[in-house]
Structure formats: C-alpha cells, structure tokens
C-alpha cells in the first residue's frame, strides 16, 4: 500500500514537473490551451469534490469564480499579489460558509435553481454597487502577471486540489461524506455532523473556485460583471463534471479535458455550425455513456463478471 502510494506520488510529481515545462514550449496557443484545460480541470474537480459525494448539483460555480475575479479587479492594483489571492480565498470561503449554512436544507432542483439565483443575486448586487457607489462598471486589471505565471499558479492549484481531494478521501471527513452520500439518515445515527461535513466541503470547494477566478482575472485586462459572472461557466463545469463522472476524484478531469478539447476542435473546424455539431455530439455522449467517462473506464477495467462497483473507494 505504502509502496503504491509512493509510486503514485512519484509519478504525479514527475507529471507535475513535465507539465510545469509547458510555458517553455514558447507557443502561446499551447499555453493558452493548457491554461484553459487547467482552469476547467480545477473547477470541475472542485465541483465534483462537493457534488460527487453529496449529490447536490450546484450552479454557484460562477458566483465564486466571479467573487475571485472581482476581488482582483478591485484590489489587484493596490495590494501585493499573494495578499490579493489570500483575500479572494477568504471572501470565497465566507460567502460559501453563509450560503452553505442557509441552503443545504434545500434538495434536488430547488438547490440547483437556488444556487443559480444566488449567482445572479451576487452579480446584480455587484452591478448595483458599482453603478451607484463606485460609479464605475468594468474595472481594468493591470497587474504584472504573465501568462506563464497564470499557468503555473493554476498548475499549483491543480496539484493542491488533487492532493487535498486525496487527503480528504483518506480522512475522517472524506469517509463521513461517503457515508452521507450512501444514506444521510444512517450517517447522522453514526454520529456524523452532516451539516458540518457538507458545509466544510462546500466551503473548500468554493474557495478553490474563487482562487481560479482570482488567478484567471489578470488574463483579460478588463473585468465587468458579465465577464466575471458569466453563467456559462457554471453550466460548462457542471456538464464536464457530470460527463466525466463526479463520483470519483479523478472523474471530472475525464470530462473537463476532452470537452475543452472538443469545444476547441469544433469551434476551430466548424465556426458556423459549431453549436449544432456540439449539440449532436453531446446527445450522443449522454446516450452512449450513461455513467460518464469514469463509469466507462470502470466498466472496462472490471472483469466480465459484471461486478461493477459504482461508487468511490477511498
């Protein structure tokens, strides 16, 4: 077991080191694509960290992403960069804590639409504040951060997220979440503080999303609510994680990477019929891969006996 962990760790470190070299390729497009892949990998993984075990489908990704981006928009030119990231993370955590405590009693579609409404509310309030109080809408972010810096930060965050996810899965919290995912009533009777566990996880996941928003913000120079709080991000992340398979830590990556590449390929090859082709491929995936890419891999890796264990093991 330990040997396996060590081996896996070594492989992960090697992969990380190799990935860290991407900016050295000197091709800004590959770098941009890598940034995009990392962005969605982190977002979808963070999404899956909470929604996978608890099965709450959240559309609040954009809310946290936007909070991060806006923190940079407001403070990016004033404070040193690490401090900005720290403040963004703290803000994200606070918002997530409040939201988590107030909303986790909702279930099913009510939670889904609530989180969407929440995103819109935050966006409307930011707009209203900017319009009426600061009287600027659209802030300029001129900070001294290169594309490679963004990439490396995202890569570090990706590594941190996977490490965190791995640690959580091995921790008592991770086990508690698996029990909650199986049967929340049983979990409570086993002495699990289910509210705490869920809010803690929601907060962790949201903080990561906030950091992604903060890290990405310098890439666009200009931040306005419609850019920072673009609700498409929520949908894309949700779809990626679901397609990949949110029930495993590494599941969402399997959705994020191919879908990002697919988007890229289709929008490059078929700029005019992009949407139609995308829609068709999408439907095909839904019909062909009912349990996501992770489910497909699991199915392939299990023997013909058909004992497909559908849920995660630590």
């Amino acid at each position: 077991m330990t040997a396996r962990v060590a081996g896996f760790g070594a492989a992960a470190l090697t992969a990380l080191a190799l990935l860290a070299l991407v900016p050295r390729l000197g091709n800004a497009y590959y770098l941009a694509l890598a940034i995009s892949l990392l962005q969605y990998t982190v977002l979808a993984t963070a999404w899956g960290m909470f929604s996978g075990p608890t099965r709450y489908v959240s559309l609040a990704t954009t809310a946290f992403f936007g909070v991060g981006a806006y923190t940079v928009a407001v403070l990016g030119e004033i404070l040193p960069w690490p401090l900005v990231l720290l403040i963004a993370a703290a803000l994200g955590a606070i918002v997530a804590g409040i939201v988590g405590l107030s909303t986790l009693r909702l279930s099913g579609v009510y939670f889904v639409i609530f989180t969407f409404g929440l995103t819109e509310l935050i966006r409307q309030l930011v707009v209203w504040f900017e319009v009426n109080k600061s009287r600027v809408l659209g802030r300029y972010v001129f900070v001294d951060i290169t594309q490679a810096d963004i990439y490396w930060q995202l890569l570090a965050l990706t590594a941190a997220v996977f490490l965190l996810g791995w640690l959580i899965a091995r921790s008592r919290l991770g086990f508690a979440l698996r029990v909650i995912g199986e049967d929340e009533t049983v979990a409570k009777h086993c002495g699990i503080n289910t509210t705490f566990a869920k809010v803690a996880l929601f907060t962790i996941s949201a903080t990561v999303m906030t950091l992604v928003g903060a890290i990405m913000a310098p890439r666009w120079t200009y931040i306005e609510p419609s850019i920072a709080f673009n609700s498409m991000i929520s949908f894309q992340v949700l779809i990626m994680a679901l397609l990949g398979g949110a029930h495993r830590l590494w599941g969402p990556v399997l959705g994020a990477v191919p879908l990002t590449l697919l988007f890229e390929l289709l929008s490059a090859r078929f700029p005019n019929t992009f949407t139609i082709i995308l829609g068709c491929i999408f439907l095909l995936i839904v019909y062909m891969l009912p349990r996501g890419v992770a489910g497909l891999l699991e199915k392939l890796s299990t023997t013909a006996g058909g004992k497909t264990r559908q849920r995660a093991t630590a």
């Binding site: 008592r172 086990f175 508690a176 698996r178 029990v179 995912g181 199986e182 049967d183 009533t185 049983v186 979990a187 409570k188 009777h189 086993c190 002495g191 699990i192 503080n193 289910t194 509210t195 004992k307 264990r309 559908q310 849920r311």
Partner: protein, 249 residues
C-alpha cells in the same frame, strides 16, 4: 416508575408529536432501566416508529422530555444523540450498499468520541463481524448480502459505537425459525454486555423470550405497561393489538 434494576438509561416524559392533524405520539412517558430489554409493541401505525424517531433525533418532539443517562436530548440533532451513546437499526434495513462490510461497521465507530486508533478499530471491526456471524465477509460489498446478512451487518454497525442504549426496530422480522433463534440469542448476549435495549417487534415469541417489560401503544398513546406476560394478557392490549382474539398464554 422503573421496575428494573439500576438507574434509568432512558426516561421519557410527556412526549408528543403531531403530523398535521394526526397525533402520532401522544403524551408518552416511560423509563428504561440499565441493562433492561424493553419491548415496544402496538399495531403498525400506532406510533412506535415515530417514538423511536423522536428518541433518536430524526424528528423533533412538539412537547415532552427525553433523558438519556439523565441528559435531556429532546430536539438534539441525531448525531449528537448518537455520540451520547444511542444506536439504532431501521425498520427497513439500511446498510451502506456502496461499501463493503468492514466499511459499514467502520461508519459506526469512526465518528464516536474518543476516536479509536486505526489498529484498534480494525480489531473491533473483526470482533463485531465475528459476533454477528459475518466473519470472513469483511471485503464483501454490502449490496451482495442476503436479507438476513444485511440485518446482521446493520446490527454490527449499531454495536460498533458501543452504545449505552440500542433501539431495534423490527430487527427480527422476516427471519425464519432457526435464524430467529440465533437472533434472539444474539440480542440476549448484548444485555450481558451491559447494553440497554428498546425493542420494537411483532414477533411475539421473541418478545416473550427477550423482554423484561413491555409497553403497548395504540393510536399514539401508551395503553399498557408492565411485565411482558402481564401486558400480553391484558384485555385492552388484546383488543387493540391481537385483534379481538383473547390470549391466555
């Protein structure tokens, strides 16, 4: 109130809970002494399961107190009650299908205070599997177990927490006669460990074999309480529960 020996583990006073207009538990009071096995009887829908849900914190009582080892736990969250030493099984057996047997039991003990070391936990899990008759099934997925083994696993999970009070909701239902005998012995042995038990059960032979005392509920109210034999021959009980056929066992 208590007829058993020692201090009451559970004392319930004036417990009430209504759903809309339907009063499911109405002014229920009773006490369970240390080491006692108490039967909670009554027709389906008489409020037994609601009472268990109130005690274990699934539901919040409208009125009344529930004392576990002297501490009022009425309205406390389930997980807190569980950590105070209460464990239960469910009428429709609930095991964690996505996990193996070992993990199912681990769920029962991992969140209790103080935390066990990993090694101690493994030892306890092994002992529990042994005890309920699931030795050697550690890595077997719970979903693959038969009905009776699922029941065993659920009990092992409840026992993992070393509870002071154990609530068994029709745990013996659906067992064949030989399994029933094993089950009765198992429950009896728990008492020897100092576990106090509240048993909701329809299998009368088991009630007679196990329970020191019984309470009978009907339409949310307690209609009888006393030694098992007395209660089962009580006219009101016979009318309400045994369906108008007098029992003179």
């Amino acid at each position: 109130m208590s007829q058993g020996s020692g201090t009451p583990v559970l004392t319930i006073n004036g417990l009430r809970r209504a759903f809309g207009g339907l009063v499911a538990v109405n002014d229920l009071s009773f006490a369970v002494a240390q080491g006692e096995i108490m039967g909670l009887l009554g027709p389906n829908g008489s409020g037994k399961t609601t009472a268990l849900n109130l005690i274990s914190g699934v539901l919040r009582p409208d009125a009344g107190t529930i004392r576990l080892m002297g501490q009022n736990i009425a309205g406390l969250a389930s997980y807190r009650i569980a950590r105070l030493g209460l464990a239960r099984t469910f009428q429709l057996v609930r095991v964690l299908d996505g996990m193996d047997c070992r993990e199912n039991i681990k769920a029962g003990l991992a969140f209790q205070r103080p935390h066990l070391s990993a090694a101690d936990a493994e030892v306890r899990i092994g002992a529990l599997l042994d005890r309920v008759g699931l030795a050697g099934h550690d890595r077997r997925p719970a979903a693959d177990l038969t009905y009776i083994d699922r029941k065993r696993l659920e009990l092992a999970r409840a026992l993992a927490a070393k509870p002071r009070l154990l609530l068994l909701d029709e745990w013996l239902a659906g067992l064949n006669p030989s399994e029933l005998a094993i089950g009765i012995d198992l429950i009896r042995s728990l008492r020897a460990d100092g576990i106090t038990i509240v048993l909701v059960e329809h299998v009368m032979s088991a009630v007679r074999a196990l329970c020191d005392r019984c309470i009978v509920m009907s339409s949310g109210r307690k209609i009888a309480e006393g030694a098992t034999a007395d209660v089962l021959s009580d006219a009101a009980v016979v009318k309400a529960y045994l369906g108008g056929v007098a029992a003179d066992a």
